[in-house]
Amino acid sequence: MTEQILLEVQEVSRSFGKFQALSNVSLKIQPGQLCALIGPNGAGKTTFYNVVSGRYRPTSGRVFFEGRDITRAPAHRLVGMGLLRSFQITNIFPALTVLENVLVPLVVHHGSSFSCLGAIEKRRNLAEEAEQILSRVGLTGQSHRVVSTLAYGDKRLIEIAIVLARRPRLVLLDEPTAGMNPEETDRMIRLIKDLSERSDTTFFITEHDMKVVFSVAEKIFVLNQGGLLAEGSPEEIRANPHVKRAYLGGSLDAAGL
């Protein structure tokens, strides 16, 4: 019996014209293991997420999710299998209310996408479920506010709530704390840790804030110039001379790590 694998990426490459954004990246993620993907700007982190989540197709290589080949599957199908993601730039429904933002994924989740005659207000169970999810991310009592009027940190939480509504198996979080103040960042870190421990959802985050990465991640992958430079526990990565010398340089020390 080999180890259980949730996500397996096999020698994935992706190029845009002449530019090679990813070259031969392979990695495996086990269920329940909170992983992080780090690397300097332009290392290919977002491209990697776009390939895994079905937004782009890889130029070569294959991607498996729970043993199934998902290399050429469209994004909406991957979501149906339990692979969700957030975006670096908050990606929600600005003119809808907080509740409606969570109802959209719930409608899809319960297979009601094309039920078009009953009023959505009458789906009490959906609304209750949405409220539960909102309270899980710490957004209670704001259900009827229009999302565009919320504070930035709350908007990012909405995106987490949207993702959770699909009861994901694996969630890719693209820089979940980007643009947040320290207080909001703390809140987000605690939330991710908490969700990772208490639910059977696995989180895979990218982050440029090293403090965040080393405080939450159980395993770290380092991407540099489109290739995988190193992988291992936070201690191993911190001690890895390649990582240290090659490009993180003094920033690890500067961050007091």
Partner: protein, 322 residues
Amino acid sequence: MNSLLRGHVLPASLILLALMAAPLFLSMYGVIVLTEILTMSLFALSFNLLFGYTGLLSFGQAGFFGAGSYFAVLTLIHGPDSLWAAMAAAFIGSAVLAVVIGWFCVRLDEIYFAILTLGFGMMLFTIAHNWRSVTGGSDGLGNFTLPELNLFGWGVNLFNPINFYFLVLLITALGALLLFRVVNSPFGLLLRGTRENSLRVSFVGANVRAVRLFAFILAGALAGLAGALFAFFNRIASPEMLHWSFSGKAVLMTILGGSGVYLGPAVGAAIFFVLEHVITAYTTNWMIFLGGILVVLVLAFPKGVLGSLLGLLTRRWKGPKP
């Protein structure tokens, strides 16, 4: 929010009652104008399912409207002499057409969608214009008589404008009710989600193309039904009804009334006709006014007349938002 439906029942009943009572107070001419307004309201409402709710600006909606009128008239000429059959043919025929055309159009969005719908609408126009043996060419199809409407065994004579008015009111009200239920349903929420952020919708697992296509088909079918009424009303199906300038009318009515309010397009249709009658009484250059009005609306009142009024009223009642 939970009272959304209940909150609409009262105003909707009042509007319906007023419309049912209207023939008592209006001259025959007024009834005829109101009939046309109602027909165009259904057309504009169908357009707004795409524009206001799904965020897709169609410039080819007249293609389905006109196709519906031809389907209806062709049924009366070659098929059963029944208005119900003619309307069903218009509804179903336009829906089938929308499946085919929508399959192309929903693959692209924004500007591309506008051009594609324009192009396909004009394709239908040229078919109606050139396929003389079937469509009568540029003369259109006018050589049919309006049969009596079979209402549970009763024959209703539609040459009486008031009877015809009630038929149009019935169909428009049913169409409007159907659309209202759709936009407030789970599917309707998905439509608004698609309008706001189609990327997010596909990343919560919905097939955005399928969602858009379904809206496109429904909008096409209802536009076709409106077209059937229009053909009965004018006793003719003619190519101009498929022309893109006719699609422009639905766009204008919707912007006039407001795309963000459910009944906005219907109110827009009424304003459109009133304006047209008032202005054409003074000058034949009504389009110059219409163009000017559209420019002013887009720049200063993008919510349209009804949207702006409602916005003003809610601000009065609830006070400014914090």
